[in-house]
Amino acid sequence: MSANGSHTNDYVEYAPGYVDNEGPKIVTSRFGYEDSHTLERSLSTGGYDGLKAALKKNPAEIAQEVKDAVLLGRGGAGFPAGIKWGFMPPVWPRYLVVNGDESEPGTYKDRLLMERDPHQLIEGCLIACYALGLNQCFLYVRGEMAQAQENIAQALNDAYAAGYCGKNILGTDVGIDVVLHWGAGAYIVGEETALIESLEGNRGMPRLKPPFFPAAKGVYMKPTIVNNVETLANLPWLMVNGADEYKKYGSEKSPGTRMLAISGHVKRPGVYEVEQGVVSFRDLFYGENYAQGIKDDNELKAFVPGGGSAPWFFGDQLDIKIEASEVGPAGSMLGSGAIMVMDETTDIVKAALRLVRFYARESCGKCTPCREGTSWEEKVLQRINDGLGRPEDIDLLIDIGKNISPGTYPVASFGDEELDAVPFPPKQTTICPLGPSSVAPITSAIRRFRGEFEAKIGASALPESRPGGETSIDALEVDA
């Protein structure tokens, strides 16, 4: 199988959202087929060849191959999967959990991978299970993704019946069960310890690491590897072609491809499979093979480079190459490969409010700073947006953010204001990064567009002579 595309139509009818950019295809090679989700199509296009290749080697060789390929996790943190696997102590039983709870604002690539090529994912799961010596895997799919659940359920039933899954896989003594599990609507469950809690039937509230590093104490307090859907979808190709071949794509630090979702104000939004570290944001936004420019040829105002949790980038960052090792030091993260583009028409206060509202709604409620802080941030922002802001609210927002994420929050540089980038990640007073994520849009927006906040506050029907800091909300309501 070659990584070069087998089809060339740019917008793929059977996979709405997916755009074929004629680049290498490691995980999207079947997306052009209407029946890409079936066992028949999978088998006729090399499906399960990776599993066959893997079963001929010993498990340790597979793990080494993954390590050699520097297969970076595609869920958000970008940690090398091979090294993560190596953290597992020699303790059994152990479990693999597939994180298909994709819900980061702006992100969707796992959904397409699950809907359009479930066998590729199942094959990836089996290869990982084989390498790790475990015989039960849970495939956790986001609750709202009914079609993905349906296609995976059918694929699993077919794979079991055909002997690719379950007892005596491909006639060998290897037995691995892959169990389809699904969520019920909670963004936080994308965090791996929360995912484990949810899989155990509990409220999806994250566990503190340490002591609860999943590799040592995961599902049922047993060693557990949590891998993202896209990460595992790379394994079949990797098994067939090998690490050396894999590393021919992408950059040295970030080999292979990534699925990127480009949404918002661009001419051709879509999900693209892109070589890591080769393409820049500018290429992506303006390139003919990619988004083909900003909507209506407007000016770019800001963009979110890696999902709603990522601090924003601006025009100054357009030439950064798309790989984690470049984006992090520049003050943000590549995260889940979700790029949201805002053009000059964007109401920045509203955009920030919309993202903050998301985190306030999705906070699990465990840590005080996140539970109380995110909803407070939302209330203040809502007030500003509604024209009931007070001048001190801007600094108050920054201060609430510091209670959740102390110190200087990561931020991109912008030359005209002589501000240096503060590298990712932020510090946090919380267990997981959800709370600190709410600070990203606030910090990004206020640092760069403070004037827009002041304008909304100034435009509110408030007495101009009002002394800052002493006006109570009651007084505001009387005045309003």
Partner: protein
């Protein structure tokens, strides 16, 4: 050293705290290590007796483990070598300030009308570490306030700061996860499922550990302000576990009982009976005057007249006098009465147990285990007869913890399923009359055949556990009032053969019964009658005088009919009590005794551990300490017990009872756990095995046991508890029940030799085939009317219609 402390080499872990070199214990949490080293770290969710959860983030401190300083929750971080901790750094202080501001934004400022005000960790932390003002100008969260989540506990969700203490307690400690977090994020709230209240025996603990005023106890709501409370440490006399408590009073009334963290006993937890039973002290039915019946019913009388009348009755002849009770009394009262009765009146017919216990000489001779030893990690614990959840709830929590957290294996060998069944490694429920043969089969290695309905697989599972090299503790109680205690004694005899190294923890449940036995309030070794003997003697005219030392045989002796015949026939009844019981109403003389919390004294728990009872309020009316009553009766007989103060009494006791020879009485009140003083006595005489009469084929063998909430005096005289007992029903095994062809709750006819009764019946998989279970002293039906103390096993016939 107790079992929960690390047994590894205890080399200290060096770390730096605010620039000073300190040492932590291996595995110690940073928050505890700092506390021990004099640095208090503020916290809400952390509780040393529960697993840390790291939710409130109040305990964040700056920690450097070599990768630069960062904020870490000290409740979830074990101290590692050379950790550098700064609890005074700018970043720590900013975090504390910030967390408190956020904790307070949705917390109502109703402190002036909040029961927690003045003793509130949130107030205290806000005062010490908080920002001093709020910048929150938005609308706070609103909920209906407060809502009852059980008969005893109210929840104000607006005040709740979501620390997970109550919910963790319910789940982890009590095993009653009936309260839970509901909803998510800022809308998260604690609540119950509709129509499934938080009816845990341990619900009151959640009120004690709530760091704000979100949970309040119905008996204490709006009763007092914390700064008006006076308090003293004492011991709960509700059951024989001897949970350590603080008694709090306001205006000479007990208003609250809190648990004290005794490492040896109750780890700060209490049952709701321990916690709320103090209400009975204030009952209007308390005895306040001495009373004499001069033929026209009991009338208030002068103490001296009453005491003289008692003296006269006691002088009538030791053989014709019986004394029942004494377990309610403090140790000092027990000693004084024992001295009066034995030495002065030469009476041998004395029994602190009411036919619902086990032979004193057997219990005294069993090699003793402490609670810590019984619940040590990795042990095997046999629950012989005892239903700890119903009878000894504080012990239940320790046993449950041992099974759930510390790898102890529980063997449930009880007449029916108990509260520990979910955590038992093996459960066996022999039909009444067979527990001795079951254990004998284990001892003899006869595992191939079912015994007493216990299947071979179960026998083998028990044998495997008991035959391992793990330490074995046997917790022994009287699991069935309708079955002779001899069967339990037989089981003990067989255990002595089977596991010679086994140690024993008494499961005798009644208050200070172990003090009573230590003081000799048990039948004399030669010809002394036990309670059954005394009652039988009275019923047949051989006993003229019965002294009831805080005992109510009509209510508590298993065979109600025998108690009735006895009290009807006997000439003199003398009652010394805090309430006028049903038996006491038949008395000729009644002496009012000071109750719990009203006198100083001591308590001996089921381990033989001595702990203080302290007075916090004054007794009502003329009620006085039991030892004083004994002294006055002695004086009325013209003799002298030899002490006129508690100190003199204790000196006398130490001189007379060897186990107590070296007790530091003055130090008792301030000792953390109290010393185990009662030692193992002479090897028990188990006697010959009894032979269970064969069943007549269609009768069911009766199982009668106790529930925590019953018609007992304390429960019934405590307004908050009085309605908690459930209605009695007769439970049959599903196979026996299905034979009746009726549905759950249908009335059945129960026939005994004494007559025919009607009671609702139901199926219960926890009852063995061939048995019928009904609890003692519940509303709706008096199980005592079914019991015949004269037979080894009470049987009943159950028919429909």
């Amino acid at each position: 050293m107790t079992a929960t402390e690390p047994t590894e080499a205890t080399t200290g872990i060096p770390f730096t705290l605010n620039g000073k070199a300190m040492e932590a214990k291996p595995g110690e949490m940073l928050i505890d290590a700092c506390e021990r080293n004099g640095e208090h770290i503020p916290r809400f969710c952390y509780h040393p007796r529960m697993k840390p959860v790291g939710m409130c983030r109040m305990c964040l401190v700056e920690v450097d483990t070599g990768r630069g300083p960062g904020l870490q929750p000290s409740c979830m971080l074990t101290v590692s070598p050379d950790m550098v901790v700064n609890t005074e750094s700018e970043s720590t202080k900013q975090a504390q300030d910030g967390i408190l501001e956020l904790t307070l934004i949705n917390h109502p400022l109703d402190c002036p009308v909040c029961d927690k005000g003045g003793e509130c960790p949130l107030q205290d932390n806000a005062y010490s570490y908080g920002p001093g003002e709020s910048r929150f100008v938005e609308e706070k969260r609103h909920y209906e306030k407060p809502i009852p989540i059980s008969d005893l506990v109210y929840l104000d969700r607006e005040r709740c700061i979501l620390c997970d203490r109550c919910t963790r307690f319910a789940d982890e400690v009590a095993g009653d996860p009936l309260i839970h977090f509901m909803d998510r994020g800022a809308q998260t709230q604690v609540n119950t499922f509709p129509d499934h209240p938080f009816s845990s025996y341990f619900s009151g603990n959640t009120v004690q550990i709530c760091p704000v005023g979100a949970l309040t106890a119905q008996p204490y709501r709006f009763k007092a302000r914390p700064w008006d409370l006076a308090e003293i440490e004492s011991t709960s006399t509700v059951d024989s576990t001897g949970a350590r408590i603080v008694l709090q009073s306001s205006g000479d009334r007990l208003v609250r009982v809190l648990g004290v963290d005794s490492e040896a006993v109750n780890w700060s937890w209490l049952s709701d009976k321990d916690r709320f039973g103090y209400e009975a002290n204030d009952s209007e039915n308390r005895l306040t005057d001495a009373m004499i019946d001069n033929g026209e019913g009991l009338e208030p009388a002068r103490w001296t007249d009453a005491a003289r009348k008692v003296a006269t009755a006691l002088a009538a002849g030791p053989d014709r006098t019986g004394v029942i009770g004494g377990a309610r009394l403090p140790l000092e009262g027990q000693y004084a009465w024992a001295k009066l009765l034995r030495q002065h009146a030469q009476i041998q017919n004395i029994d602190a147990q009411l036919g619902d216990g086990l032979p004193a000489q057997v219990m005294a001779g069993l090699p003793k285990a402490t609670i810590a030893e019984a619940t040590a990690a990795g042990g095997v614990v046999v629950l012989l007869g005892v239903d700890a959840k119903e009878e000894l709830p504080s012990l239940f929590l320790r046993l449950r913890h041992a099974a759930v957290e510390d790898g102890a294996s529980l063997i449930e060998l009880t007449p029916r399923t108990t509260g520990l069944a979910p955590h038992a490694a093996v459960s066996a429920h022999p039909v009444p009359g067979t527990v001795g043969t079951v254990v004998a089969a284990l001892a003899d290695g006869n595992l191939d055949q079912a015994v007493g309905g216990v299947e071979p697989a179960t026998l083998s599972a028990m044998a495997d556990l008991l035959g391992s090299d793990r330490p074995v503790t046997i917790v022994v109680g009287r699991g069935n009032l309708a079955e002779s205690a001899d069967f339990t004694v037989d089981a003990l005899a067989a255990f002595a053969r089977l596991v010679p190294s086994a140690r024993y923890l008494s499961g005798l449940r009644r208050g200070n019964v172990h003090g009573a036995l230590a003081m000799g309030l048990s039948p004399g070794a030669v010809d002394g009658l036990d309670t059954e003997g005394i009652l039988r003697g009275a019923a047949t005219g051989k006993i003229d005088t019965i002294v009831l030392l805080g005992a109510d045989p009509l209510a508590d002796f298993p065979d109600r009919a025998l108690a009735e015949r006895a009290l009807e026939r006997v000439d003199n009844i003398i009652a010394v009590d805090t309430f006028l019981t049903e038996s006491g109403e038949n008395a000729d003389v009644v002496l009012p005794a000071a109750g719990f919390g009203e006198v100083d004294g001591s308590f001996v728990n089921l381990e033989g551990r001595l702990s203080p009872l302290q007075a916090k309020v004054t007794p009502p009316g003329q009620a006085r300490a039991d030892w004083m009553i004994a002294a006055e009766v002695a004086a009325a007989t013209g003799s002298d017990l030899g002490f006129i103060s508690l100190e003199e009494l204790r000196a006398d006791l130490s001189a007379s009872v060897s186990d107590f020879a070296s007790v530091d009485w003055d130090g008792l009140a301030t000792s953390d756990d109290g010393p185990v003083v009662v030692t193992t006595g002479d090897a028990p005489d188990f006697g010959d095995p009894v032979v269970a009469p064969s069943s007549d084929g269609y009768g069911l063998r009766l199982v009668v046991d106790r529930k925590l909430w019953d018609l007992g005096t304390m429960v019934q005289q405590s307004p908050s508890l009085a309605n908690l007992p459930a209605e009695a029903t007769l439970a049959l095994s599903p196979s026996d029940f299905s034979g009746l062809g009726i549905t759950d709750g249908t009335d059945v006819t129960v026939e005994t030799r004494a007559g025919s009764f009607t009671v609702p019946a139901r199926a219960d998989a926890g009852v063995p085939k061939g048995a019928a279970h009904i609890p003692f002293r519940l509303p709706g039906f008096d199980a005592g009317s079914l019991i015949d103390a004269g037979v080894a096993i009470s049987e009943i016939r159950v028919t429909v219609g």
